[in-house]
């Protein structure tokens, strides 16, 4: 049941994405922008129901855990987080980032559903994952990833506007907000991971590839924040650094799984 609802939400995101392309072409049409926002919200509500049902189904199976324990569930949560944060910042009207965000959500959900290497079944937790820290650690990390993705998209769009001599103050403000929000959440994600590692293995830091790449991402976005502070606004160098940070986010999430380590289940 949950898989059907999640699949349906992917199609709603797809419809919202097509609408957002039309909205982007017809600049200034408020009605179409609102339709994109509401369609994305409908997709988010459906996806939330699907994720909740999956949680309930796992309890019915006797292995109850939050749907945040494998690659499939992390892809679904990532899509959910990206849409949530983009809608939260836009407040009932679509922002220019919506086509990118919706394309990303459709891509993530589609990959989770159709890629043969992504196991979508509900599995019990291995002993190492049986901890209350699992939910808070994964949620904060992925909300952080989502905010970093959005900050980078907004940064690139804002820089393009600025270079065309148009007003980019709104996107600059959004860039700063996503950056701040992402940095706070990702810091919490790293900290909760450290506390969990201390509880599970007796050390808060072990230079595991996932840990190290999370630190690399954190360092790059700390550099973005300082560079933004230095240049006093949306400058090319800060945006280029944010793009490097985005590459680091992707490697931290997916690339690291091809390196041996303790996080290879995600």
């Amino acid at each position: 049941m949950s898989a059907t609802i999640l699949g349906f939400s992917t199609f709603v995101y797809l419809a919202a994405f097509i609408l957002s392309l039309a909205a982007a072409r017809s600049e200034g049409r408020n009605l179409l922008n609102r339709a994109v926002w509401w369609a994305a919200l409908a997709g988010l509500v459906l996806q939330s129901i699907g994720m909740g049902l999956r949680w309930w189904e796992s309890h019915q199976m006797g292995v109850g855990h939050a749907p945040l324990a494998n690659f499939y569930e992390s892809l679904v949560f990532f899509a959910w987080a990206v849409i949530l944060l983009s809608l939260g910042a836009a407040r009932s009207k679509a922002s220019p980032v919506m086509p990118f965000v919706l394309a990303l959500a459709v891509g993530l959900m589609g990959y989770a559903s159709f890629a043969p290497q992504v196991e979508s079944g509900i599995k019990p937790l291995i002993p190492a994952l049986k901890s209350n820290w699992l939910a808070i650690h994964v949620m904060t990390c992925f909300l952080g990833y989502a905010a970093f993705v959005l900050a980078t998209v907004v940064g690139v769009l804002g820089l393009r506007l600025r270079e065309k001599g148009r007003d980019s103050a709104g996107l600059d403000d959004l860039f700063t907000r996503y950056l701040s929000f992402g940095f706070i959440l990702f810091t919490i994600g790293i900290m909760t991971g450290s506390v969990w590692a201390f509880q599970a293995w007796g050390r808060y830091w072990g230079w595991d590839p996932k840990e190290t790449w999370a630190l690399i991402t954190w360092l790059i976005y700390a550099a973005v924040i300082h560079e933004r502070q230095r240049s006093g606004g949306l400058a090319r160098r800060a945006v280029v650094l944010a793009l490097i940070g985005l590459a680091s986010v992707l490697f931290t999430y997916i690339g690291v799984n091809y390196l041996p380590g303790l996080h290879s289940y995600l």
């Binding site: 291995i126 293995w201 050390r203 230079w207 790059i220």
Partner: protein, 434 residues
């Protein structure tokens, strides 16, 4: 301030060092770490050279130097921030703000402005010729938070440094075994100062066969008496005498229960792989060469090797012998070593494949963990304040001109201009008789 000091206290330097640290970490995940370091000699120079090797970057001088330089940069920035707080009022952003004529005298007006100002604002004052510049900011919380945020980085570095003086060891215990020592990170034995005994190790499984829980039941003993006990599970460490114990690994050691009878006597034996056994007053001697849960796809079996007068002989003892014989009726003719009565006058029977477990326990002490935790909490609180609490800055210039006071006001938040607080301005106008 010299150019060098200016660089080391700059944000440009911060960005370079942060990216440098990130690059070093990238190298650490690409180059295999903890590979065998070539021996380059002895003494200080050898130590120095070994610390430059790219095979242990996370403990290398490269990382230490970069982290040290970042600390220097942080300290210099913090010192300069304090000085800046005491000396500088940011340049006013009046832009095209309108001038307001007030009937109240300049000094009295200043007092009224300060009295009616929002409570969160902290003011500084500067005399500029005939005019007074008032600067207020609501950064009373934000500025110490920025300070605290950077101090937390230093605190975390200090904690990590102290963690290097910690203890990281390992004990392997079979069920019923007691140990008073553990192996340190280099495998050298170290005394615990007490004893630890594994009373039981068990693995719980889900219905689909996946492991659900690894549990070691431990007892801590001093002078032979049990002082404490508890169940050790993954994510649930135990602490005793300042040491923390973690469920790390386990090892299954093949073992089995089998019987031997000579028609008169009967023996039931529990044995592990490799055990050498002597029975029947020394008349029967053999070794358990192999114990398997599924040998030759025919289920649990033992391989016994006999030191017999007629030569070196072996016997395969299968638990499901009846089933095998059903499939291969002439089994003993085709494979005499499968016959449990091969060694006369004895008959052997495998009763149960019962592996014995040895639990792998981590023994840790980390004197830096608490400091890192304090640094982490401090960083988080300061981050929340710095990024989530907006700071308001206001500038008010008062100038005595032809018997009236001319007021000019501006406000900004996060580096941007914004409207001067309307309610406050209305109060100022009312109080000043505008």
């Amino acid at each position: 301030m010299g150019r060098l000091a200016a660089f080391w206290s700059s944000l440009k330097c911060t960005v370079i060092l942060l990216l440098g640290l990130a690059l070093l970490c990238v190298a650490g995940t690409v180059i295999p770490q903890h590979a065998v370091t070539p021996v380059v000699g002895q003494g200080l120079s050898a130590w120095f050279l070994s610390r430059l090797m790219p095979t242990d970057l996370y403990h290398s001088l490269w990382l230490t130097v970069l982290a040290g330089l970042l600390c220097l940069n942080v300290v210099l920035c913090m010192l300069l921030r304090i000085r800046a707080r005491q000396q500088r009022i940011p340049a006013p952003r009046f832009g095209d703000a309108a001038e307001i004529s007030l009937g109240t005298e300049c000094q009295a007006m200043k007092a009224l402005i300060l009295k009616t100002a929002p409570r969160a604002l902290r003011f500084q004052e500067r005399q500029e010729g005939d005019s007074i510049l008032l600067f207020g900011d609501s950064e009373s919380l934000r500025r110490p938070a920025i300070f605290g945020l950077h101090a937390s980085v230093l605190l975390i570095f200090v904690g990590m440094l102290m963690s290097t003086f910690g203890l990281d060891g390992h004990i392997e215990l079979s069920e019923g075994q007691t140990a008073a020592q553990f192996a340190d990170a280099d495998g050298r034995p170290k005394a615990l100062g007490f004893s630890v005994r594994c009373d039981q190790f068990r693995i719980q499984h889900y219905d689909n066969g996946m492991p659900k829980e690894y549990v070691s039941r431990l007892a801590f003993l001093e002078n032979g008496a049990v002082r404490a006990s508890g169940e050790l599970r993954v994510n649930h460490p135990l602490a005793y005498q300042g040491l923390r114990f973690y469920q790390e690994t386990y090892r299954a050691q093949p073992a089995a229960i089998f019987t031997v009878t000579d028609g008169v006597h009967a023996w039931s034996i529990r044995a592990r792989e490799g055990d050498e056994l002597t029975m029947d007053d020394g008349k029967l001697r053999f070794q358990i060469e192999k114990i398997g849960e599924d040998v030759m796809h025919m289920g649990p079996a033992l391989k016994l090797v006999f030191d017999h007068a007629s030569g070196h002989r072996h016997l395969w003892l299968f638990q499901e012998l009846d089933r095998i014989k059903e499939a291969v009726p002439d089994l003993f003719e085709r494979a005499p070593s499968f016959n449990p009565s091969l060694i006369k006058p004895y008959t052997f029977a495998l009763m149960e494949f019962a592996p014995e477990y040895a639990t792998g326990i981590g023994v840790k002490r980390d004197p830096g963990a608490a400091i890192v935790a304090v640094g982490g909490v401090m960083m988080l609180i300061c981050l929340l304040i710095v990024f989530l609490i907006p700071s308001l800055r206001v500038w008010v210039r008062l100038e005595e001109r032809a018997g009236t006071t001319i007021l000019k006001a501006a406000a900004g938040r996060g580096g941007k201009s914004e409207a001067f607080p309307a309610v406050w301005m209305a109060r100022i106008r009312r109080a000043g008789g505008a």
